[in-house]
């Protein structure tokens, strides 16, 4: 496999506006829908009075819980079947009309009555009622190895702190949208989802219909970050019910404000973490997480999971607990678990280094885990030590203290931290068709969130068959295609790789035997292991002989060839080795301590995540991830009004994310790994950038102004030091 920095397959389509996003599909007779939201955080919907709405111009239909009675009961339909209200802004009805303005107008004419009950709007109001989930994702929620209490008691140094992180929202540029209609018993659903097949399955279950009667399409996405992962928004079913009631296609798009409440969030955490050391080595870790979940569905990030395995440590105990509040549902958000978890662990490591008089980098190296101590398995590959070395070199970590600590109004600080994310795969099928003219079509029912899946799919197939990208067509985002993976957990490239490889291997075998079997052809009699595919030719390695692919096809398969490949999901219990991607992040920040302002000035990160297919795309993923991490560290915070449970400031004017001026220079190093356990040595990369950097920034703030900030985001009030004139006071 070769690394190629091919530009994005769909770049031209996107910059010329030819890429059609699903929300742009506009069938004749399209109705526009809007949601009516509950004004209370906890209680019951008493009535929906829609006497006046139908008299409004353009009104088409109203859908409520009553209509949902026709749906099968399941976790995905609870919120639209039951009248219980669990959070402020929960939809209680959908109105569809000829235009969006008419829908809004008719919705304003609907009177809803609710009965409020006392709400829990803040984690600490119900800490006593925290529950302990069994699992956090695919990991057990609580673990214990060794004897933590004794080890902490005997430790030479114990670092014990509470770390907290705030609620963040995903905010892809493209909000959730669905355009749907019925063709007799069949449903067509154009929607912005990271998981077309999971969406199809939930629809099939809710509507009790065979999956083959449902077509879900998501060919282009304007981002996802986890909030479009599965069917987090059952209100899509209401759009489908509206379409069924009216016999017309229906479009529902969430507003930016609704993206704060209806599609998930990164949960708030309070993390108690203790590290025990003897001789500079970790002897004990306890990491106890309390996090927010909604009143209707339990969800926990794997926040403390990474404290079990990032470092070598004989005694480790971790727990996760959840507090149910009347706030929106948390879901995975880019770097789920690792982002909040490494903030605590890596901040504590920095503090430990200071107390031990060690360089933070040396402390990490000293505590490197040479195998996965939680499962006892070896790493499938692990180049974390190279990440530390290369990142430190490029950043100039070793002589940072010699650099000037001031630049105008800025006090400079340096920090570093580790990031990691599991390398996992899902089951995948892919179809590759080689046309008679040696052009390729690659088909896989996965999605491209904007992260480069089109390009990766095309590139893997094109490389294997020696065909230029210009002759490759990629089709994805349609459940009529072979089942592909959902776009999440940094798994797509790793999952599609073996499936596409298997399909192209079949094609290569067919072509080789076709070429070799023609005794009069240039490759007649050659063995298939002598044949290579390159430059649209089949070549003999041992001689100069070659034949054009198109000639081979014209002769033997003028209609082309098709092959399907398949690959299996990671079988976690049977794994011989733990797959993990790693990285080391180094940052330079400036703090104006008189005014409290913090700016990131420079980021250097070295990542080791298997083989990199396309360095250009990989860099874009890493940089995007790091920017998200800067947002979590310094800007992003979803505010809840505790009196009402209402989310405040639901717009980009109020919810801050980094703007260009907040994005420094990014120096990205990619350390290639051969991984004998992973097909093609491919690991996921999408999550790595979004963790670690938070702790690196917090450590750099400490380096600059001597203050340990143990919560995120770190803001002006946290960094305000004495005024610039203290001498005079």
């Amino acid at each position: 496999m070769n690394a190629h920095s091919h530009a994005r397959y769909e770049a031209l389509l996107k910059v010329t506006g030819q890429a059609r996003f699903e929300g742009e599909i506009a069938p004749a007779g399209l109705l526009h829908a809007t949601l009516i939201e509950a004004p209370i955080a906890c209680g019951e919907l008493v009535s929906v009075d829609a006497v006046e709405a139908p008299t409004r111009p353009g009104f088409a239909t109203l859908v409520t819980h009553d209509d949902s009675a026709s749906l099968k009961s399941s976790a995905a339909t609870t919120l639209i079947r039951e009248t219980a209200i669990h959070f402020h802004g929960q939809p209680v009805a959908l109105v569809a009309a000829s235009t969006l303005a008419e829908a809004h107008d008719a919705a304003r004419a609907v009177r809803i009555a609710t009965a409020a009950r006392p709400a829990v709007t803040q984690m600490d109001q119900a800490l006593g009622a925290a529950i302990a989930p069994e699992m956090v994702g695919r990991f057990p929620a609580a673990t214990r190895r060794g004897d933590v209490a004794t080890a902490l008691g005997e430790a030479e140094l114990v670092i014990r702190n509470r770390y907290s992180t705030q609620v963040n929202n995903h905010h892809p540029m493209e909000p959730h949208v669905v355009v749907c209609w019925w063709e007799g018993p069949k449903a067509v659903v154009h929607t912005s989802t990271q998981a077309i097949f999971a969406t199809r399955a939930t629809i099939a279950q809710a509507f009790d219909m065979p999956p083959r009667n449902i077509r879900v399409l998501a060919r282009f996405l304007g981002g996802g970050f986890g909030c479009k992962g599965q069917l987090w928004w059952p209100w899509m079913f209401w759009a489908m019910l509206a379409s069924r009631k009216t016999g017309r296609p229906v479009r529902l798009e969430l507003s930016r404000a609704q993206m704060f409440t209806l599609v998930g969030r990164r949960q708030q955490t309070e993390q108690d973490l203790a590290l025990g050391f003897a001789n500079g080595r970790l002897t004990a870790i306890t990491h106890d997480v309390v996090a927010q979940t909604s009143a209707h569905t339990d969800y926990s990030d794997s926040t403390a999971v990474y404290s079990r395995l990032l470092y070598a440590c004989p005694n480790v105990s971790t727990t996760h607990r959840l507090v149910r509040t009347n706030e929106p549902q948390p879901v995975p958000m880019r770097a789920p678990g690792t982002a909040p978890g490494t903030f605590a662990l890596e901040s504590a490591m920095d503090e430990a280094a200071e107390r031990l008089g060690l360089d933070p980098l040396d402390l990490r190296v000293k505590n490197f885990a040479d195998h996965d101590q939680e499962t006892g398995r070896p790493w499938s590959s692990n180049s974390l030590l190279s990440c530390y070395r290369v990142g430190a070199e490029r950043f100039g970590w070793a002589d940072r203290q010699k650099r000037k600590k001031r630049d105008g109004r800025w006090t400079i600080g340096f920090g570093m931290a580790t990031t990691l994310y599991p390398a996992i795969r899902q089951a995948c099928r892919a179809r590759v068709r080689l046309n008679g003219d040696a052009s390729l079509v690659v088909q896989c029912g996965t999605q491209d969130m904007g992260s480069g899946t089109y390009t990766a799919l095309g590139q893997i197939a094109a490389d294997a068959l020696g065909i230029p990208m210009a002759k490759v067509t990629v089709e994805l985002g349609d459940t009529w295609l072979p089942d592909g993976p959902f776009s999440g957990g940094s798994q797509v490239t790793a999952s599609i790789f073996p499936a596409v490889q298997s399909a192209t291997a079949q094609l290569r075998a067919m072509l080789a035997s076709m070429a070799a079997s023609d005794a009069n052809g240039p490759l007649g009699g050659k063995t298939s292991d002598d044949l290579d595919f390159e430059g649209e030719l089949i070549r003999s390695r041992s001689s100069n002989a070659a034949e054009r692919l198109s000639d081979v096809l014209a002769r033997t398969a003028p209609d082309g060839l098709v092959a399907e490949g398949e690959s299996a999901a990671t079988d976690h219990p049977k794994l011989a080795a733990t797959g993990m991607g790693h990285g080391a992040v180094f940052v330079e920040i400036g703090v104006d301590s008189a005014l409290g302002e913090i700016r990131v000035r420079r980021v250097c990160a070295a990542f080791a995540a298997g083989r990199i297919l396309n360095p250009l795309l990989a860099r874009s993923q890493y940089v995007g991830g790091l920017i998200g991490g800067i947002g979590m560290a310094l800007h992003e915070q979803t505010l809840t009004d505790r009196a009402t449970g209402c989310i405040l400031g639901k717009s980009f004017a109020d919810y801050l994310i980094p703007v260009h001026a907040d994005m420094p220079e990014f120096d990205i190093a990619m350390i290639e790994e051969d991984d004998p356990h992973l097909p093609g040595s491919v690991k996921g990369i999408g999550m790595l950038g979004s963790a670690g950097i938070q702790a690196a920034i917090a450590s750099a703030v400490h380096d600059a102004i001597g203050k340990r900030i143990r919560h995120l985001p770190i803001r002006i009030e946290d960094c305000l030091g004495p005024a610039c004139d203290t001498a005079q006071r």
Partner: protein, 329 residues
């Protein structure tokens, strides 16, 4: 989202606009950048919208030490105008620290001065807010109030005014020219705004139908060599001020002969720091004078649960701004 439909009138003459604007349920729109946000979220629901952005009120002129800015000038045009840049750089600085390039291309001076508060309770329909729904209470006072004011608040409202431009204009003693059906009148800029009452908090003193036609600034180019707009925020750009300071000094023979200081993000209106100004005049620029100005700036500040940090921040900001233009640290 879209708000309720309205009747749209494009005004081409001021007298037409004034006549239409005085009618019940009418509102003006200029660049629309604030109005549309309020309309989309259901907070503004006018029957009639009178678009005044084509009125011939966008002229910028400078003569006899009076700068006159047409109220419908776009922020970006004002910031780029040579007379503004050379003679009143404080105005250009404040504008360039506001919003984003795209917004400044649309937004007008008049609209900027009359933008509504960013208080998140005001901007969330249904929450208690005396400014939006008189008598409903103030959600911010005991709620999320990091953004809230330190000065000029009442038991009924603790919101700040968000305009950066207004802070600069207050420091320069700008006058607002207002037209109504009854004729034209002039206001000192701070008089455009009202302090909150116990259960209500109207923003401005304008009557229905009033149009701001111009802003004029006299005798202020003497501050051109020493003026600065310091805006403190959580991210590097495109954010409303957490705290801001407009500062201007005139220094002759090593003595401060005139000082202007106004603060943003701390009050329901641009907050002139008269006490600090008085403490500076007649003194030599330097640490002692600046610290005194900083101390006086925060006198009388009343913090809430989450905005107390703004007090030391304001003090530091005043000192920093003075250091920047005072020629000494």
């Amino acid at each position: 989202m879209s708000g309720p439909s309205f009747h749209y009138i494009e005004a081409t003459r001021l007298d037409d606009a004034l006549a239409q604007g005085a009618r019940h349920g009418a509102t003006y729109v200029a660049g629309g950048t604030d109005f549309l946000q309020l309309w989309k979220t259901g907070l503004a629901a006018p029957k009639t919208v009178i678009d005044i952005c084509r009125l011939p009120l966008a002229e910028i002129s400078y003569a006899g030490d009076t700068l006159s800015l047409g109220a419908l000038s776009r922020l970006s045009d004002v910031a780029a105008h040579p007379d503004v840049k050379i003679h009143h750089p404080l105005i250009a600085d404040a504008i360039l620290a506001s919003a984003s390039g795209q917004l400044r291309n649309m937004a007008t001076l008049g609209g900027n001065l009359l933008q509504r508060t960013r208080c998140p309770y005001f901007r969330s329909a249904g929450l208690a807010c005396n400014k939006r729904a008189p008598g409903s209470g103030c959600g911010a006072r005991d709620g999320e109030n990091r953004h809230a004011a330190l000065f000029g608040t009442s038991s009924g409202c603790v919101a700040t005014h968000a305009s950066d431009l207004a802070v600069a204009l207050a420091a320069l003693d700008a006058e607002i020219v207002v037209a109504s059906a009854a004729g034209e009148r002039r206001l000192r800029l701070p008089d455009l705004y009202l302090l909150p009452a116990p259960t209500t908090a109207p923003d401005s003193s304008l009557a229905d139908g009033d149009v701001i036609t111009a802003i004029s600034i006299h005798d202020a180019c003497r501050f051109a060599p020493r003026s600065t707009y310091l805006k403190i925020r959580d991210r590097a750009s495109f954010e409303f001020a957490v705290v801001s300071v407009a500062a201007a000094l005139q220094i002759e023979d090593g003595v401060i002969t005139a000082a202007r200081l106004a603060a943003g993000g701390v009050a329901p209106l641009p907050w002139r720091l008269h006490g600090s100004e008085a403490a500076l005049v007649g003194r030599a620029p330097g640490k002692a004078a600046f610290a005194a100005a900083g101390d006086l700036a925060i006198e009388g500040a009343t913090p809430l649960a989450k905005n107390a940090f703004k007090i030391p921040l304001l003090r530091s900001a005043v000192i920093r701004a003075l250091q920047t233009i005072g020629g000494v640290s």
